[in-house]
C-alpha cells in the first residue's frame, strides 16, 4: 500500500472563477501548483529552445542523416489497382554493379490490392543505381477487376477487394474496427454502439431532422517524407527514423527481428511532421532494416512525394446518415447515425465517438461500416474519427436549432453538459461578435457573409508507460532526459519549463535530451497525449533531485531542508531569503559528479475513466469551440474564411505561445480540409490522379483566415502538472464551423467536403450539376 496524503488543489476554470478540490495523492508526489499567474515559467510564452537550430538549418532531420557507406533503397510497387503477381525475378537486379541487397515483398501468385503496393525493394550505392535495379526486376502483373469508389464498392456486383480468407479481422488503431464483425461483399460491419431505445426516442420526439453528410479522403502531406536510416551491426541495430513513437518502434523492431530490446536503439532529432501517419514502423521501416541486415551496411529509405500521397496513410472518407429527435425545447430524445467509410484496403474508417459523448441524449445508436476499395491504406490522422464525425453531427445540430427556432448556441447550452465548452461558447460568441449573425442568406449583394459555430470533443489521453530522468551535475548544469520525441509541438521546451520552475532556474539553463530510446521511455506523440504524459513525472523527478540537493544546501545554511526554496538561481531559506546559496554552489557540495532521479507517470489522482495496458483516459474530456466568419462569392462560388475564433481547454496551459501555434495549425488543417483537399481517384484506371503537391491542394498563406486563439486555464487537481493536450481538439471543429457559416451566408447547406467553388455554384443551382 502506497503512503498517501491529503492535499487541496485549486480547481475550476480560472477565467470563470476558481474553487478547490481535495485529493488524496501518493506521498511521493509534489505539492499542488497554484494557478499559472503565480508561477514563474509555467503557462508563459517561452520561445522554443531549439528555435535557433530550426531557423539556421542546423536541425538534423532523418532525411539529412548520412552515414559512412550508407546505401539508398527504393521500392518496386504495383502499377495496377488490382493484380495477380504472375512473375517476380530479381536476379538481374541483384547482379547489377552497385546493388547490395534485394528484398522480395510479394510472391508469384499473390494478389496485389492497390496501386503502389510494395512488391520488392533494393538497396544500392546511389539512388540512381537503385533506380536502375528496379528497372532490371522482371515482374509481370495480371490485371484484375477493381473498385476505387466507395459507393460503387457497396454495390452487390462490385469487384471484391478481399475474399473471406484474406479480409482483415480487426485494426489495432481501431476506429471503430472491432474484431469479429460480419463482412458482406466489400462492406464490414456494422460496429454498433447503442444505449436506451432509439425507436422509442424518435417516437417521443416533437421534431426529427435527418441529413446525409460526406467527407473526402485527406492525405497527411507531411513535408518531411516517411524516412528511415537503418544501421544493422553485429552488436545491435540503430535506427534513425522520422517517427512519432521512438520506444514503440523499438518494441516493434525487437519483436520482428528477434532482438533483445537492449540491442535496438531508435533515434529522432528533427521530425518533419507526422499527424498520425508516423506512429508505427511500417512496411518501409521494416524493409529498410531487412536490407541493412542483408547488406551489412546502413540503408536510407525515404519515400518520394508520389509514394507519400499513395502509400503513407490517409484520413478515410465517410458518408454519414444522421437522425436527431428532439423536444420543442431542444432536449434530445434520440440520436442515430449510420456511417460508411473507406480506409482503402485497411480498416478504421469510422466516425469515432464524437456523437456518443458530446450531447446528453438517452437514446443513442451508431452503426459504423468499413468499405474496402482498391486504394492505399488509411490510418489515424489528427482527431481520427471525430473530425469527420463532428462534420456530420455539428451540421445536424445547427439544422435542428434552425427548425426549432433556437440560436445554435442556445441549443448547445441546453444539451451540452461540458462546463468548459459552455465557457468557451460564451467567450467565443463575444470575440466573434455573434450578435451580428443574421438570418441565412440575408446579405443582399453577390458576396454573402455568414457566421457559424461548431464544437470539439477529444479524449484526455495519458500514456501511463512513460518515464523520464532529471540530473544535476556537480557544476550546477541540469539535464532532462526521455525518449519522448518533439514532432513540432515544442515538448522539449515545455520540459525545460517544468524543470526550471522546480529548480528555480531559467528554461535555457536546462539541457533537454529527447528522441532517443537510450533514455527512459517517453511514450508516443499521438492522441494529444505527450504533455499530459511526460510533464507530471518530470516535475516529480525534478522535485526529488532538488530535495537531494537541498539536503546538502541546508547543512551549509544551517536550516532544515524543508525550510528551503529554489528561486532565481538560488536555494534560500523561505523565512529569511538573505540566507541563500547559488544553485551551482549547492551543486558543488554534491558527493558525486552527478545526482539523478527517474520517475514514471503516476495515475491521475482522481483515477481514470478507462484504463488500458500502457495508456488511460482522464475523467474529463477535452472541449473546444470554434467560430468562423466567411464570405461567399455567389458568382464565382469561392468561399473565403475571413476569421476564426478558436476557444480551447487543455487542463493547465503550459506554454501559451506554443499552444497558440498548435491551435493555429489545427484550424489551418481544418480550413484546408473544408475547402481544398481531396484525394482524386480515377475510376477507370484506379490510380490517384493528384499524387503530388500541385494538384493536391493545401491551404497556403492566402487561404489563412485571421485566427484568434483563446485557451482556458482549466484546473482539475488531476496530476502533478494538471496538463493535457491540444493538437487534435484544435482540428475537429473547424470544418463544421465553416460549413455552418457557409449555410448562414447563402442559406443552402453544403453537406459534402470539400466545399469547392463548383460545389457552391451547384448548391445554388447555378450549374448543371446537382
Amino acid at each position: 500500500m502506497t503512503a498517501t496524503r491529503t492535499v487541496t488543489f485549486p480547481a475550476g476554470i480560472v477565467e470563470a472563477g476558481l474553487g478547490t478540490v481535495t485529493r488524496e495523492i501518493p506521498a511521493s508526489e509534489p505539492p499542488p501548483w497554484p494557478p499559472n499567474a503565480e508561477l514563474t515559467w509555467i503557462g508563459k510564452d517561452v520561445p522554443r529552445l531549439n528555435g535557433r537550430e530550426k531557423v539556421t538549418g542546423a536541425t538534423r532531420y532523418t532525411v539529412d542523416i548520412r552515414l559512412p557507406g550508407m546505401l539508398h533503397a527504393r521500392f518496386l510497387r504495383s502499377p495496377l489497382p488490382s493484380a495477380e503477381l504472375r512473375k517476380l525475378d530479381t536476379s538481374a537486379a541483384a547482379a547489377l554493379a552497385g546493388v547490395r541487397a534485394v528484398v522480395v515483398l510479394a510472391r508469384s501468385g499473390d494478389r496485389l490490392r492497390y496501386a503502389g503496393q510494395p512488391v520488392a525493394a533494393v538497396a544500392a550505392v546511389s539512388p540512381g543505381v537503385a533506380g536502375e535495379a528496379l528497372a532490371a526486376i522482371d515482374a509481370e502483373f495480371r490485371p484484375l477487376p477493381f473498385v476505387v469508389d466507395m459507393d460503387e464498392a457497396r454495390a452487390p456486383d462490385a469487384p471484391l477487394v478481399y475474399d473471406e480468407a484474406s479480409v482483415p479481422k480487426g485494426n489495432p488503431s481501431g476506429f471503430p474496427a472491432a474484431p469479429g464483425l460480419p463482412v458482406v461483399g466489400n462492406v464490414r460491419g456494422p460496429a454498433v454502439v447503442r444505449r436506451g431505445d432509439p425507436a422509442q426516442g424518435f417516437a417521443a420526439a416533437d421534431i426529427v431532422v435527418e441529413g446525409e453528410y460526406r467527407t473526402q479522403v485527406q492525405t497527411h502531406s507531411c513535408l518531411e517524407p516517411h524516412a528511415i536510416v537503418a544501421d544493422w551491426r553485429a552488436d545491435g541495430l540503430t535506427v534513425y527514423m522520422s517517427t512519432q513513437f521512438t520506444s514503440g518502434v523499438r518494441q516493434e523492431l525487437a519483436a520482428l527481428f528477434g532482438l533483445p530490446l537492449n540491442r535496438v536503439r531508435v533515434v529522432v532529432d528533427g521530425m518533419g511532421g507526422g499527424f498520425g501517419s508516423k506512429s508505427q514502423l511500417g512496411v518501409y521501416g521494416r524493409t529498410a532494416v531487412e536490407l541493412s541486415r542483408l547488406a551489412g551496411l546502413p540503408v536510407r529509405l525515404a519515400l518520394n512525394r508520389h509514394e507519400e500521397q499513395t502509400d503513407a496513410g490517409n484520413r478515410p472518407g465517410t458518408s454519414q446518415r444522421v437522425r436527431l429527435g428532439a423536444k420543442r425545447d431542444g432536449t434530445l430524445t434520440a440520436l442515430a447515425i449510420e456511417s460508411h467509410g473507406t480506409a482503402g484496403v485497411a480498416l478504421g474508417a469510422g466516425i469515432g465517438f464524437f456523437a456518443e459523448r458530446i450531447y446528453t441524449c438517452p437514446n443513442f445508436e451508431t452503426l459504423q461500416h468499413d468499405v474496402f476499395v482498391n486504394a492505399g491504406p488509411g490510418c489515424a490522422m489528427r482527431g481520427p474519427g471525430n473530425t469527420p464525425g463532428a462534420h456530420g453531427l455539428e451540421q445536424a445540430i445547427d439544422t435542428l436549432a434552425e427548425r426549432l427556432g433556437l440560436d445554435p448556441l442556445a441549443l448547445r447550452d441546453r444539451i451540452d453538459p461540458s462546463k468548459a465548452r459552455r465557457e468557451e461558447r460564451r467567450i467565443g460568441a463575444e470575440r466573434i461578435g455573434w450578435s451580428r449573425r443574421h438570418a441565412p442568406g440575408a446579405d443582399p449583394g453577390p458576396v454573402k457573409r455568414g457566421l457559424g459555430v461548431a464544437q470539439s470533443l477529444w479524449m484526455s489521453n495519458v500514456q501511463t508507460n512513460v518515464a523520464c530522468e532529471v540530473r544535476v551535475l556537480r557544476d550546477g548544469s541540469v539535464e532532462a532526459l526521455s525518449s519522448v520525441q518533439d514532432i513540432g509541438t515544442g515538448i522539449g521546451t515545455v520540459m525545460a519549463q517544468v524543470v526550471a520552475e522546480v529548480l528555480g532556474l531559467r528554461p535555457a539553463e536546462i539541457t533537454v535530451r529527447i528522441g532517443d530510446t537510450e533514455f527512459p521511455p517517453g511514450g508516443p506523440s499521438y492522441g494529444s497525449r505527450t504533455t499530459a504524459s511526460i510533464t507530471p513525472p518530470l516535475r516529480t523527478a525534478a522535485t526529488r533531485v532538488l530535495a537531494e540537493l537541498g539536503r546538502e544546501a541546508a547543512r551549509m545554511l544551517n536550516a532544515a531542508p524543508e525550510e528551503l526554496e529554489a528561486r532565481d538561481g538560488r536555494l534560500r531559506v523561505k523565512s529569511d531569503p538573505a540566507r541563500s546559496l547559488a544553485f551551482r554552489d549547492a551543486a558543488a557540495l554534491l558527493r558525486t559528479d552527478r545526482i539523478s532521479a527517474v520517475e514514471s507517470r503516476a495515475d491521475d489522482y482522481p483515477g481514470f475513466r478507462r484504463r488500458m495496458p500502457d495508456a488511460a483516459m482522464a475523467l474529463e474530456d477535452l472541449g473546444g469551440v470554434q467560430f468562423a466568419e466567411v464570405a461567399v462569392d455567389t458568382e464565382t462560388g469561392a468561399i473565403h474564411v475571413e476569421r476564426v475564433v478558436a476557444v480551447h481547454d487543455c487542463g493547465r496551459p503550459m506554454n501559451r505561445l506554443l499552444l497558440e501555434s498548435q491551435v493555429q495549425g489545427g484550424v489551418l488543417m481544418g480550413v484546408s480540409y473544408a475547402l481544398l483537399e481531396r484525394r482524386v481517384m480515377d475510376r477507370r484506371t484506379g490510380l490517384m490522379v493528384n499524387a503530388d503537391l500541385e494538384h493536391y491542394k493545401l491551404a497556403g498563406a492566402h487561404d489563412t483566415p485571421e485566427i484568434e486563439v483563446v485557451i482556458l486555464e482549466n484546473l482539475q487537481g488531476s496530476s502533478a502538472t494538471d496538463a493535457y493536450g491540444i493538437a487534435e481538439p484544435a482540428n475537429i471543429a473547424t470544418a463544421p464551423a465553416i460549413a455552418n457559416a457557409v449555410y448562414n451566408a447563402i442559406g443552402v447547406r453544403l453537406a459534402s467536403l470539400p466545399m469547392t467553388p463548383d460545389a457552391v455554384l451547384a448548391a445554388l443551382g447555378k450549374t448543371g450539376r446537382s
Binding site: G57, L223, P225, R305, I487, L693
Partner: protein, 164 residues
C-alpha cells in the same frame, strides 16, 4: 562563367560559389542545385519536400533572388552567388528574420522553416517595410503543413520594424 555547351551524362567539373566560398564539385549535369547543396556539400538546411517546385521548401538565393533549388540545375548556378540558410546569419549574429521567427514561434516541425526564412529575408531586402499582404505574397508559394503562416507573417513584420 556560363555552363558548357555540352556536358554529361557522366560527372563534370562544376564550381559553385556558396555562402561566399568557392566549391569545386564533380557532378552529373542532371544534378539539381538542391541535391548538390544537400548531398555534395552537406548543406542539409535546404529541404526537399515535393521535388517539383510546388512547395518552396528548397528556397535559396541566387544573386540575392529567392529561387527553388529543386527546379534549378547545379550546373546552371555556376558563376552565381548562392546563399543558403546556413549562410544567412553573420557568424553568431542571426538575421533579424531568424531572430523574429524564434521570438514569434514562426515554426513547428521546422521542415519548411529554412525556405520560409529565405523568402521572408529576401522580401525585406526588396521591401524593407512590407505590410502583412506583402508578406503573404512573399510566402504564397510555400506550404507549411503545421500551419505556421500567421506567426510567419507576424515575425516578418516584427523583423522589418527592428531592421535599421
Amino acid at each position: 562563367m556560363t555552363a558548357p555547351d555540352m556536358a554529361g551524362p557522366g560527372k563534370t567539373a562544376i564550381t559553385l560559389a556558396v555562402n561566399g566560398t568557392s566549391r569545386q564539385l564533380e557532378l552529373e549535369p542532371r544534378t539539381t542545385l538542391a541535391e548538390a547543396l544537400r548531398n555534395a556539400l552537406g548543406l542539409t538546411g535546404t529541404k526537399i519536400a515535393c521535388d517539383r517546385g510546388a512547395c518552396s521548401a528548397c528556397t535559396v538565393w541566387l544573386n540575392g533572388q529567392p529561387v527553388l533549388s529543386c527546379m534549378a540545375l547545379a550546373i546552371d548556378a555556376a558563376g552565381q552567388e548562392i546563399t543558403t540558410i546556413e549562410g544567412l546569419a553573420q557568424g553568431d549574429v542571426l538575421h533579424p528574420v531568424q531572430e523574429a521567427f524564434i521570438e514569434h514561434d514562426a515554426m513547428q516541425c521546422g521542415f519548411c522553416t529554412p525556405g520560409m526564412v529565405m523568402s521572408c529575408a529576401a522580401l525585406l531586402e526588396r521591401d524593407p517595410h512590407p505590410d502583412a499582404a506583402a508578406v503573404r505574397d512573399a510566402i504564397a508559394g510555400h506550404y507549411c503543413r503545421c500551419g505556421t503562416y500567421p506567426h510567419v507573417v507576424a515575425a516578418t513584420l516584427a523583423a522589418a520594424e527592428r531592421k535599421p
